[in-house]
């Protein structure tokens, strides 16, 4: 089996101007955690804040683009893809093609850059 570990935290603690020993420590712990996992770690990345998110919502078969993260309604997180795209337009174009059974939403969130 493979498992996804989805990290939920108060993102404001990671915002700009929050750099300091506390943040440094948690970054260090992530590095350590990754090392301990070794081959058990298949992939993973930090995400930029929800303020950088864009959501492609499908309602009654019609797609629309919204500023902001997925707003919880009747859908639940069901999966994820990590893609390479030159810019947001290209990422949205791919997000539009993600198969959905019925209505739903694809949140497009940039990954944190390396370092």
């Amino acid at each position: 089996m493979q498992y996804a570990l989805l990290i939920y935290e108060d993102e404001s603690a990671f915002g700009p101007g929050k750099a300091g020993p506390k943040l440094q420590q948690v970054v260090g712990r992530h590095v350590e955690f990754t090392r301990d996992l070794g081959a058990k770690r298949v992939g993973g990345a930090g995400l930029k804040a929800t303020s950088s998110a864009t959501t492609v919502r499908t309602t009654k078969g019609k797609q629309s683009i919204h500023d902001g993260p997925f707003a919880e309604s009747k859908e639940q997180l069901g999966g994820f893809y990590v893609i390479e795209a030159p810019d947001l337009d290209a990422a949205i174009a791919i997000a539009r093609k993600v198969p959905l059974l019925e209505d739903g939403a694809i949140e497009v969130r940039p990954l944190l850059g390396p370092g």
Binding site: K48, A49, S51, S52, A53, T54, I65, H66, D67, G68, P86, D87, L88, D89, A90, A91, I92, A93, V108, P110
Partner: protein
């Protein structure tokens, strides 16, 4: 040069310079800050040495230097910065001539109106960066504090940077949605000007900006029908402005406006843009909407019957192209004149009431129809519902008068 004259120079140069800087620096905030700094230096320099022959070229040069110095100081983007510097230095002395500033306004408009930016922030950002309005002016128009508006603008710019909104004019595949987002943004910005019937409020000069912005857009996108249709609509609406309010500040409904007060030159311009749009695509929704405006503006005096049958036919055509609740409401108004009040009230009943709960024009239309149908109590209640949420003073004044006439008629 006076302070106000300098202000005009800065404002008119703003879009060209911020657009050109943003396109090269790939960063809106840096481009905007550099331009502000260039304006501040201009105020000092020009008061001593006089205004240069080509102020825009001067501002562009200084802003570019400021931006590059800033990047250098931050010591990030080192490779990018050296590339930019090399490009910039290689240019044949453009300081004398602002025609050397690359025209990146279209890029700037598409970035500001990207669908991944919040809808209201798109309009604010366009007014700030493309039209050069101050944050305070935009804040007043959107009825929020300057701080709130500044935060909204900062958030939008940071979203654009963080999410990787491309600094390019979109390619063909993204065109329909992206252009629509640009047009909707301009409509929202213009609606802010139009709400204020007297044109004396904080949005007064928005209208002039919108005339210019729509003209620019048509110039940049000469083969698209909808920008030309929007340019036509803005001109038709502005042309009618002198007749929208009487000397007491009372709103005059369109069908009672004296066409002789309308500004013919603007209406003629509007007809020019409409002809252009019709030649490209007569069936696109905004072209049909512009034809409704044109039908009204074809009236030359109050003796002529209002063009209600034509207006109703255009609304039906428009709804067959794009269903929209506000269009349905406007259609009800035309239907009342052509098919009678009772039939229009039935049409109104079929609209989604919940959608219109906070939309004052809906309650105003309902009140008018009920009054004309002789349903006094229901009409009074509808007037009160409209009055509770109406914003514009001229329209409030008119609704009060309609309501009072109903009260007076009952007790002569």
């Amino acid at each position: 040069m006076s302070g106000a004259a300098l202000e005009r120079v800065f404002r008119s140069a703003s879009a060209r310079i911020v657009g050109a800087l943003a396109a090269r620096l790939r960063d809106l905030a840096t481009a905007e800050d550099a331009f502000s700094e260039a304006c501040a230096r201009a105020l000092e320099d020009w008061s001593v040495g006089g205004v240069p022959g080509d102020p825009a070229a001067w501002l562009y040069q200084v802003a570019m230097r400021v931006a590059l110095d800033g990047l250098r100081r931050r010591k990030t983007h080192a490779r990018f910065e050296s590339q930019l510097s090399a490009q910039f230095d290689a240019q044949p002395a453009p300081a004398e001539d602002s025609t050397a500033i690359p025209d990146e306004r279209l890029r700037l408009i598409f970035i500001c109106c990207h669908p991944a930016v919040r809808v209201d922030a798109r309009a604010a950002l366009t007014l700030r960066l493309v039209c050069g309005l101050s944050t305070l002016e935009i804040a007043r128009a959107f009825l929020v504090s300057e701080t709130t508006m500044a935060q909204r603008l900062t958030r939008a710019k940071s979203k654009i940077a963080e999410a990787g909104v491309p600094f390019e004019v979109p390619t063909a595949q993204f065109w329909p949605e992206r252009l629509d987002s640009v047009l909707v943004t301009i409509e929202i910005a213009y609606a802010k000007a139009h709400e204020d019937a007297a044109g004396s409020g904080p949005h007064a000069h928005f209208a002039a900006e919108m005339l210019e912005l729509t003209q620019t857009l048509v110039h940049l996108l000469p083969t698209e029908a909808e920008p030309a249709a929007l340019a036509a609509m803005v001109r038709f609406a502005e042309g009618r402005r002198p007749a929208r309010v009487d000397h007491t500040g009372l709103m005059i409904p369109l069908s009672e406006q004296d066409p002789q007060l309308w500004q013919r030159s603007l209406i003629d311009d509007g007809n020019g843009y409409l002809r252009r749009a019709l030649a490209i695509d007569p069936h696109s929704p905004r072209v049909i909407q512009a034809q409704i405006h044109a039908a009204w503006c074809a009236r030359t005096d109050l003796q002529e019957p209002p063009p209600w049958p034509a207006v109703l036919a255009f609304y039906d055509l428009l709804l067959s192209r794009r269903d929209d609740p506000v269009v349905r409401l406007n259609r009800v108004v035309a239907a009342a004149e052509v098919r009678g009040v009772e039939s229009a009230l039935c049409d109104l009943q079929e609209l989604d009431q919940a959608l219109f709960r906070d939309f004052a024009p809906y309650h105003a239309v309902r009140a008018e129809l009920l009054r004309r149908a002789g349903r006094r109590e229901a009409a009074l209640q509808a007037y009160d519902e409209a009055l509770a949420i109406i914003g514009s003073p001229a329209e409030r004044h008119w609704l009060m008068r309609q309501k009072e006439s109903l009260l007076m008629n009952d007790h002569p």
